[in-house]
């Protein structure tokens, strides 16, 4: 099993009364609320945490979000470039440049090819569909987002694979007359490709393509739905069963010396859910294209009618969660090394195994020192045991 460190580089230092009054903590908070001196410290702390992971054999996820307290990584390729130079050992997953809000996927392919060369082939490319306030920040039409997403992936893949001189792309959303990457990627034909999604339809397409399906904070049931769709689609297409390295489970993780420390420090990670997800209704429930119009009655009304099932974005069910609830729903593993080992293996068994565990190890007011302590304990006390157990057990695939 591969372990991946995921840190969104959050900015929790906006006064709570301002956050309470704002209709959205993403996309629209004025820039004067972000102190660049504090941001600089955060960037360097987060980079140091990544370098610690590099020393400890933990892979690193490089992410992207825009204009909000949930993440300072708006210019994602810059951070990826810094990681490419400063790390020496582990793999870096860019999950990733938000391709459906970028105007030119060829430029994205160039950035990825360059990063893969600098990394001497240690790059994994992850695609994220994006949505909600990112559509405003990225000036991207939310209607047709998925169609652009797949065309961008096809174009990036073709550009990375091409070694035969200038090629052309004349698609529906993108056109480019002269695609010729220098350098081409280090890995042939291109770096491994992932997509983060809990949407079963998207997972089906990932299954057909054989891409890695990471599922972030969807818990056991949501993850089962996605991975079942992945496996079913491959079966229907007559493709071989996927190996466990096609599946990545992402959760908050904090390991302390004791259960009390693990839970009390780990619960700080839930700031991400309880504070940084708040989005204005125009970026969430009323955003066109994010769900079929037929679902609008249960979303638009202020309260459901008798007998009506409430439809909501997956993130809505996460807001206001306690540490106990998060652990019970298996979106957080927290405690002493024994406890966390058991929690991870319980999820592993229930899900029929997974080849990658992505752990969100810092968020909100969890400090740099606390993050580094948790990373060390996870790497030294938990990872060897989890790896050994995962190697010797062959879990049945969850139905």
């Amino acid at each position: 099993m591969q372990l991946w460190f995921h840190n969104e580089n959050t900015y929790p230092f906006v006064p709570q009364n301002i956050l309470d009054e704002a209709d959205s903590v993403r996309a629209s908070l004025p820039g004067h609320l972000c102190d660049p001196k504090i941001a600089a410290d955060l960037f360097h702390e987060c980079m140091d945490e990544s370098l610690l992971c590099d020393d400890l054999g933990i892979n690193i996820v490089s992410i992207e979000h825009h204009a909000g307290i949930n993440s300072l990584y708006g210019a994602s390729p810059i951070v990826l470039g810094a990681l490419a130079r400063q790390t020496r050992n582990v793999r870096i997953l860019s999950q990733g440049t938000l391709i459906s809000i970028r105007q030119d996927p060829v430029r994205v392919a160039e950035e990825y090819a360059t990063a893969d060369v600098m990394l001497r082939g240690r790059l994994d490319i992850g695609f994220v569909k994006s949505g909600d306030s990112e559509m405003a920040s990225g000036n991207a039409n939310p209607v047709g987002n998925l169609e652009r997403f797949w065309e961008a992936i096809d174009l990036i893949t073709a550009a990375l694979k091409n070694q035969d001189g200038p090629m052309r792309w004349e698609g529906k959303h993108f056109s480019h007359r002269h695609i010729n990457l220098w350098p081409r990627p280090y890995q042939q034909p291109h770096p491994p490709m992932w997509t983060a999604t809990g949407d079963p339809d998207t997972s089906r397409e990932l299954g057909r393509r054989g891409m890695v399906n990471s599922v972030v904070l969807r818990g056991i049931e949501g993850t089962k739905r996605a991975w079942s769709a992945y496996r079913d689609a491959r079966k229907e297409a007559g493709l071989p069963e996927p190996a466990l390295d096609r599946f990545a489970y992402a959760a908050f993780v904090y390991v302390g010396d004791t259960d009390e420390e693990g839970v009390s420090v780990g619960s700080k990670l839930l700031w991400f859910l309880n504070t940084s997800l708040k989005q204005a209704p125009q970026f969430s429930k009323f955003l066109p294209g994010r769900m079929p119009p037929e679902m609008a009655p249960s979303v638009y009304r202020t309260k459901p009618r008798p007998g009506e099932t409430r439809a909501a974005r997956p993130a809505d069910g996460l807001i206001g969660m306690t540490a106990e609830q998060a652990i019970q729903r298996q979106i957080m593993f927290a405690g002493n090394p024994d406890t966390v080992t058991k929690q991870i293996m319980a999820a592993y068994e229930t899900l029929g195994g997974f080849g990658h565990l992505i752990f969100i190890g810092r968020s909100g007011y969890l400090t740099h020192a606390e993050a580094e302590k948790g990373i060390r304990l996870l790497a030294k006390e938990v990872l060897p045991r989890v790896r050994e157990m995962a190697r010797t057990r062959q879990p049945a695939v969850a139905a």
Binding site: P142, P288, P297, Y300
Partner: protein, 258 residues
């Protein structure tokens, strides 16, 4: 008086409201599609043969695969004019439909006799940092509601009170509007240059307190077309056809007869 029918234009199936007799009046809806329970089409049918299609994706009109640009809509509306019987067509467009109507009229059509634009969008007037048209997708629903309606408690959609089918229709309208008009937001950078090509008498009507797109913008819009005159209707904002249907129908009726 108004019937909800289906028609096919260039192979594209459309929901269409029809009613009245006389010279044809083609009505292009705005951000929201029109229904047979809307008062305005019935009132306008007293002045001519009203044909009011729902654009693909809006209301009850399906959207063909890959039909997703303003270019598609302009071609469709030109084909619609070809399909409408009668010699002297009046083309009426509200808001987003006003943009389409202006595009069609700037290109010209042999049977187009008059043009009416009601709170249209479609052009850029101010500098790059000054939006002319309130961003209905990026601003809060409460702000959009205040800007769009003079009397929101009476006229704005109330989802808690609406039936499922009406909410689904509203969501279809919203999605289609976003698809077509997201970028550049609600305007064609080149339309302004071509507006003077409109060769038919044009009436530009504005809700006098429209907060989505201001009467000043309307005045400037009308000023770009030498054949246009500008009128305002009191006590309404972006939807005169909903908030002041009688006044608007009378104004258009007298323009059609002039």
């Amino acid at each position: 008086m108004i019937a909800n029918e289906r028609m096919t234009v260039h192979g594209i199936e459309l929901e269409v409201l029809r009613g009245g007799n006389g010279d044809p009046i083609v009505l292009l809806h705005g951000m929201r599609s029109l229904t047979s329970v809307s008062r305005f089409p019935s009132l306008l049918a007293g002045h001519g043969a009203v044909v009011a299609p729902s654009c693909p994706g809006f209301g009850g009109s399906p959207r063909p695969k890959d039909f997703d640009t303003i270019y598609d809509l302009i071609h469709l509306q030109r084909a619609m004019l070809d399909a409408v019987p009668g010699e002297r067509i009046t083309l009426v467009g509200f808001s987003f439909g006003g943009w389409l109507a202006a595009e069609v009229a700037a290109q010209g059509h042999s049977r187009l006799a008059r043009l009416v634009l009601v709170d249209p969008v479609g052009i850029k007037i101010s500098g790059p940092e000054t939006p002319d048209i309130l961003d209905v997708f990026n601003r809060s629903p409460a702000e959009v509601r205040r800007a769009a309606w003079h009397d929101p408690d009476r006229f704005a959609p109330d989802f808690d009170a609406m039936e499922d089918a009406d909410i689904v229709r509203h969501a279809r309208d919203w999605e289609a509007l976003c698809l077509y008009a997201w970028h550049p937001y609600m305007y064609n950078p080149r339309l302004r240059y071509w507006l003077s090509r409109i060769a038919v008498p044009t009436l530009v009507v504005w809700g006098d307190s429209d907060g989505i797109v201001s009467p000043d913008y309307g005045c400037a819009f009308a000023g770009l077309n030498p054949n246009a005159r500008f009128e305002t209707i009191a006590a309404c904002r972006h939807h005169p056809e909903v908030e002041r249907p009688d006044e608007l129908a009378a104004l258009i009726g007298s323009f059609v007869r002039s």
